[in-house]
């Protein structure tokens, strides 16, 4: 624990005053104390990373700073003057802009409209669209973005959309720019582009608050880091003075050794599936127009199949065909040698196939239902409408998974949308595990999740496979896929391009090479 104790924050640079100073911030939700007496400060011209596990209070602190949540106690100063942030518009007026994890622009408007929304150039009561577009192009040019301002925002990649959101922050003349998990759906080149823009803004004196689960990126871009844990302040450090292991230890409140233990366990449980018995599921020539080209795949009990590929490579589409979420145009599926048509998620569920989706918010949680109901949903759906799960049995199932997955708060009556992202993910895992699936398809189960929860989920997955479950593990993090899986499928441009056993000579580099190579063939 000693490594995790708050260290005295080093003295502030004397020549600068913070642009944002938060002191003693507390916020409580029903059943959850989200923030407890937390201080936070932000200097102009610095990138300040906010770190902590899921549920540590990062999102809550950001929402307090952006006026989304009212604070119960404490004080927020901007440029030395106390401000009351009763809504996002007041935060914006105070010069605080936010770019969220999910881009919060209007996809069905043009780039110019999005960038200039609310700041259109007016001529009398009318909008001068030509001038508005020109202004938008100027702001985009400042970020080295060469886009047609008239193009629809939805026609661009998420990365470009995020840069548009940043351009928008420039329009409102932001002093503080909050980047909440901006890189979670970007590839490396896009991240580099984003960071170039961030450095440029920093040089212009903008204070950037950066939240990310990628330690590499935090170390690459940030000057200073504040660590939160369980809604409390742990410490503020200069990034240069803080070794990674100390940062991780501070975040999870465990020693470095304990952390290594979890990962070691996960690694040691990997055993190569030697003799091939009948696969649990066989897909032959399975494909869907405009979604994924026909592919073959065999899924074995007790084996973790990793799916590697870039975002949009067809990995999610593959999962959707295997789980009945989408209907295939061609091909056939055999479950335990029996020809089967997976016409709906329910049909797949009835055959023991569970699919945890990539988009937790839109396709996973049912926000206004309780944790108990969210866990019960799939199990109950398989039993049918008219055979309700006996309450005692349900309570047992819920209690079992709340404990096993260490879901916090361990309150079955809490609304799931009040839980942190990592805990929501665990509830979704519980939903599927409660159905005792034979095949578990996990699409990005660790996205946006902190190291501690990530290791727990990875460990769980290996244990499930050891117990005989067949697992498909999809992740953008190649290292994670390689560490967990016994066999790998590589996807590119909606094709399955490779299927290989994960031996010691398979590395991140070779897999990336496969992706690139197959591109040359195509």
């Amino acid at each position: 624990m000693s490594a995790a104790q708050p260290e005295a924050a080093e003295p502030a640079p004397v020549d600068r005053t913070p642009v944002v100073q938060m002191t003693g911030i507390s916020i409580a939700f029903p059943g959850v104390k989200a923030l407890d007496d937390v201080p936070f400060r932000l200097f102009p011209g610095e990138v300040h990373a906010l770190m902590g596990e899921n549920g540590a209070g990062k999102s809550t602190l950001i929402k307090a700073l952006t006026g989304v949540y009212a604070i119960d106690s404490g004080r927020i100063e901007v440029d030395g003057a106390e401000v009351r942030l009763d809504g996002p518009s007041q935060a914006q007026a105070a010069g605080i802009s936010t770019v969220y994890q999910e881009v919060n622009l209007c996809a069905n408007l043009t780039v110019a409209e999005n960038v200039m929304l609310g700041h259109e150039v007016r001529r009398g009561p009318l909008i001068d669209w030509r001038a508005t577009r020109r202004r938008a192009a100027e702001y985009l040019a400042r970020l080295n973005l060469d886009l047609d301002p008239r193009s629809m925002l939805s026609s661009h990649t998420i990365a470009v959309q995020q840069l548009c959101a940043i351009a928008r922050a420039l329009v409102v003349d932001a002093k503080v720019l909050i980047l909440d998990e901006p890189t979670s759906s970007l590839d490396n080149a896009e991240v580099a582009e984003l960071f170039r823009v961030v450095r440029r803004l920093k040089d212009e004196g903008v204070a950037v608050l950066f939240v990310s689960h990628f330690l590499d990126q935090v170390y690459e871009i940030s000057d200073r880091v504040t660590v939160l844990r369980n809604g409390r302040f742990v410490g503020e450090h200069l990034v240069a003075d803080l070794p990674r292991r100390d940062l991780i230890a501070a975040m999870i409140g465990r020693s470095r050794d304990a952390l290594a233990g979890i990962e070691e366990k996960a690694r040691s449980t990997i055993t190569i599936h030697s003799e091939r018995e009948t696969p649990f599921l066989t897909a032959v020539g399975l494909g869907r127009n405009g979604s994924v080209q026909p592919f073959d795949v065999n899924l074995y009990a007790g084996e973790i199949l990793g799916v590697a590929g870039l975002l949009g490579s067809g990995r999610t589409e593959m999962a959707r065909l295997l789980s009945g979420a989408d209907r295939p145009d061609v091909g056939e599926v055999r479950v335990q040698s029996t020809l089967t048509r997976l016409t709906s998620p329910l049909a797949a569920l009835a055959r023991g196939i569970a699919y945890s989706t990539e988009d937790r918010k839109k396709e996973g949680i049912v926000g206004d239902l309780t944790v108990r109901e969210n866990i019960a949903l799939a199990l109950q759906a398989r039993r049918g409408t008219w055979r309700p799960l006996p309450r005692r049995q349900l309570d047992d199932v819920v209690a079992k998974y709340l404990t096993a997955l260490q879901i916090t708060p361990a309150n079955p009556n809490a609304l799931i949308r009040n839980l942190s992202g990592g805990n929501q993910q665990k509830v979704l895992l519980a939903r599927w595990l409660a159905t005792a699936p034979r095949l578990l398809i996990l699409d990005e189960p660790t996205r946006g999740i902190d190291v501690g929860a990530k290791a727990e989920i990875q460990k769980l997955v290996t244990e499930l496979a050891q117990d005989g479950m067949s697992v498909v593990f999809i992740s953008s993090e190649l290292e994670e896929v390689l560490r967990l899986s016994q066999r790998l499928v590589v996807m590119r441009d909606r094709h399955k391009v490779d299927d290989l056993v994960n031996t010691d000579d398979v590395t991140t580099a070779t897999v990336l090479e496969t992706i690139a190579e197959s591109g040359a063939h195509a």
């Binding site: 059943g31 959850v32 789980s323 979420a325 839109k362 949903l377 759906a381 309700p388 009040n418």
Partner: protein, 371 residues
């Protein structure tokens, strides 16, 4: 209320437990509708002495309150179906028209039957009426769940066309029949209680049990909150959505029979006119939000009573009956404003200083409604 974990929330030092209970009561979704209902009943009682008296005459309950209960039956039946539809994120504008169609079919059948007073004939007539209601609901459901048409538009088709259909059935006439057994549905008594009240309560109990003692209620809420997540979790969202439109159709036809039975006149133009809006109002007064998800059947009882009391109050206070919609609007506004989370947050903001556990997000109510 979501139970608050004692470990994370400091126990209020000063205020007694009574204050907690008071807060829980005033924050309950039905607090303001009940207050409005009680106030209205008391006001009527003062303005019209004897209003609150209930007497037993010929073994039947009599009195203004009993009349109110009787008048609440139709809106309650409509609101029951409407509430389920709204839970899935939909709306059913056709219930008023379906009332008219159901009644028109039943009465036309009775009209052509050789012996309208035969109990068997009446049962057939009722089943025909309900069947047509189911058919109408099936059509709505197919449009919404099958073809993915927006519920507002999909059910507007039948709302507009329905009265024409009823006119066709009655051949443009106001069909009137004489059938004592049929009339009993609207104006008879069962064990001293008016038949419509018995029918409505029975329907309420059946629906409540079907919804809360099975998984239907949870599925409806899940569909209303996140349709795609529900589908991916294995919920048959289309079939379930279709089913609630059918239920709403049957209940609307039943409401039509109960409403039209006392006069036994199938006036296709006027039966159930604007009743869909009454039904929506009852659902809203009952604490269910129009955007779907969580729904509260218990609130419908209060909402339906409030509606019929209001209609009666207008007469007692000797306002012209044409002004009734105005008063409905006023009550609706008052109740909605009082229950508005924004207003509560504003009031809470002022009292923030003396509150130790002020949640920044609106307080969620998770009550298990099991009728």
């Amino acid at each position: 209320m979501t139970p608050t974990q004692p470990s994370t929330t400091p126990a209020p030092a000063g205020p007694s437990r009574g204050a907690d209970i008071w807060r829980e009561v005033t924050h309950h979704g039905l607090f303001w509708p009940v207050v409005a209902l009680v106030a209205l009943l008391l006001a009527c009682g003062i303005a019209s002495p004897g209003f609150l008296d209930v007497t037993v005459r010929d073994g039947h309950l009599f009195g203004q309150l009993v009349d109110l209960l009787r008048n609440s039956a139709t809106p309650l039946l409509l609101a029951l179906g409407m509430c389920l539809v709204i839970a899935t994120g939909g709306i059913d504008l056709s219930v008023g028209a379906v009332m008219a169609i159901g009644l028109a079919v039943s009465l036309t059948y009775l009209d052509t039957a050789p012996d309208p007073s035969n109990v068997g004939t009446v049962v057939t007539a009722v089943l025909l009426g309900l069947g047509v209601g189911a058919l109408g609901g099936a059509f709505n459901g197919a449009m919404v769940a099958g073809l993915g048409i927006q519920p507002f538009i999909a059910t507007m088709i039948l709302m507009v066309a329905g009265r024409g259909i009823a006119m066709l059935i009655t051949q443009g006439q106001i069909t009137t029949v004489t059938s004592p057994p049929f009339k009993t549905i609207g104006s008879g008594f069962v064990l001293g209680i008016p038949t419509p009240v018995v029918i409505a309560v029975a329907a309420f109990v059946v629906v409540a049990v079907a919804v809360r003692r099975t998984a239907l209620g949870m599925f409806l809420e899940a569909i209303g909150i996140n349709r795609e997540a529900s589908r991916l979790a294995g919920v048959r969202s289309r079939r379930t959505t279709w089913t609630v439109y059918v239920i709403a159709g049957v209940l609307a036809a039943l409401a039509g029979l109960v409403y039209g039975a006392p006069t036994m006149a199938a006036d296709a133009n006027n039966i159930g006119l604007m009743k869909e809006l009454d039904a929506i109002m009852v659902v809203v007064l009952g604490g269910t939000k129009l955007d779907g998800g969580r729904f509260y059947l218990g609130g419908l009882l209060v909402g339906a009573m409030l509606l019929s009391t209001l209609e009666r109050a207008v007469i007692i206070f000797q306002f012209p009956s044409q002004t009734t919609p105005l008063f409905k609007a006023l009550v609706l506004i008052a109740v909605c404003v009082a229950a508005s989370p924004t207003l509560r947050a504003m009031l809470r903001g002022r009292r923030r200083a003396d509150r130790s556990d002020a949640p920044a997000a609106p307080v969620e109510t998770v009550s298990e409604v099991t009728a």
